[in-house]
């Protein structure tokens, strides 16, 4: 699998992803990697309906995402991976998936989270996962769309 973008965005497939990122990355597939969404049949069914023209979308849990990554059938597939949180990214990385940079597009504010930028809110678990990803040398950059200037997540976490 050729990972053209790994993005954390809890809106998953929406305007910015469907129109901007799918184009600039030239991806063939959008794969939502999330245990909770994969177990929610309505959400996963709807996500499969909203793939931009010419792009396939799938929803898998983290375990299956690792299997798909290692499946020779998808060796040359250009994939855009979407996550709702950094802990899922960390689980993939720990299972041997080669991710060098993570784009953070949006993490919505909920009770118990605190806002670090306009579009990104985190809780303690998110912070811990981001720190571990950072310690593995993985770039963590905040950008809504590709023309935005990269803001390094670790800089705003301090």
């Amino acid at each position: 699998m050729k990972i053209v973008l790994a993005r954390i965005d809890d809106r998953l497939i929406h305007g910015q992803v469907a129109t901007i990122w799918s184009k600039v990355t030239g991806c063939e597939r959008i794969i939502v990697c999330d245990d909770e969404v994969a177990n929610d049949s309505i959400r996963s069914t709807l996500l499969k309906q909203v793939a931009p023209p010419g792009i396939k979308s799938s929803v898998v849990d983290i375990e299956k995402a690792v299997r798909v990554y290692n499946n020779p059938k998808y060796e040359d597939a250009k994939c855009l991976l979407l996550f709702t949180n950094p802990t899922s990214v960390l689980r993939l990385v720990e299972a041997g998936v080669d991710i060098k940079t993570v784009n953070i597009g949006g993490m919505s504010f909920k009770e118990g989270k605190h806002q670090i930028t306009g579009a990104v809110s985190v809780d303690d678990k998110d912070i811990e996962s981001f720190k571990q990803l950072n310690s593995k040398g993985i770039e963590l950059e905040i950008r809504k769309v590709d023309t935005d200037k990269k803001v390094m997540l670790m800089d705003v976490l301090k």
């Binding site: 305007g15 910015q16 901007i20 309906q49 799938s58 998808y74 809504k144 769309v145």
Partner: protein, 143 residues
């Protein structure tokens, strides 16, 4: 750079650009032209001319209008006559505007007729339907 003018009845154009910016970020070289009650087509022509004066029109001007045959469209036609690098597309919607902003951001330069085709295709493709009976599983794919 291509200049994009969104010309509509009422504040649709202004709000459409705001909606577009939610997705694409801040726009450059895009202007809203509104026709509000009490204004005449001549006022719209004047607004277009002022906007064109303020924009970079190096790569042409595309007018995106809401209604074929409406006053914003008719006014755009008056300006487009005699200008080879001006083009008009009607039925403006968000996908069409996003396509034009995307084109500006990409830095690619296209002939105005090609730009018009891209706008029309994006506008058409943006109209899709969904009904619960449309749901089907792709059995060929293990993913």
């Amino acid at each position: 750079m291509l200049a994009v003018l969104v010309g509509t009845h009422g504040y649709f154009a202004t709000e459409l650009i705001k909606s577009c910016e939610m997705i694409c970020g801040a726009t450059k070289n895009v202007k809203a032209i509104t026709l509000v009650p009490g204004e005449s087509p001549d006022d719209v022509v004047k607004k277009y001319e002022e906007a064109i004066g303020e924009l970079d029109t190096e790569d042409g001007v595309i007018f995106l209008n809401d209604l074929f045959g409406g006053s914003p469209y008719n006014a755009a036609c008056r300006l487009a006559i005699g200008h080879e690098d001006y083009g008009i597309v009607t039925g403006v919607n968000l996908p069409m505007l996003i396509e034009m902003v995307g084109l500006q951001m990409s830095g690619d330069v296209a002939a105005i007729k090609e730009v018009m085709e891209k706008a029309r295709d994006a506008g058409n493709m943006g109209t899709q339907t969904f009904h619960t009976s449309d749901i089907k599983e792709d059995e060929e794919d293990d993913l």
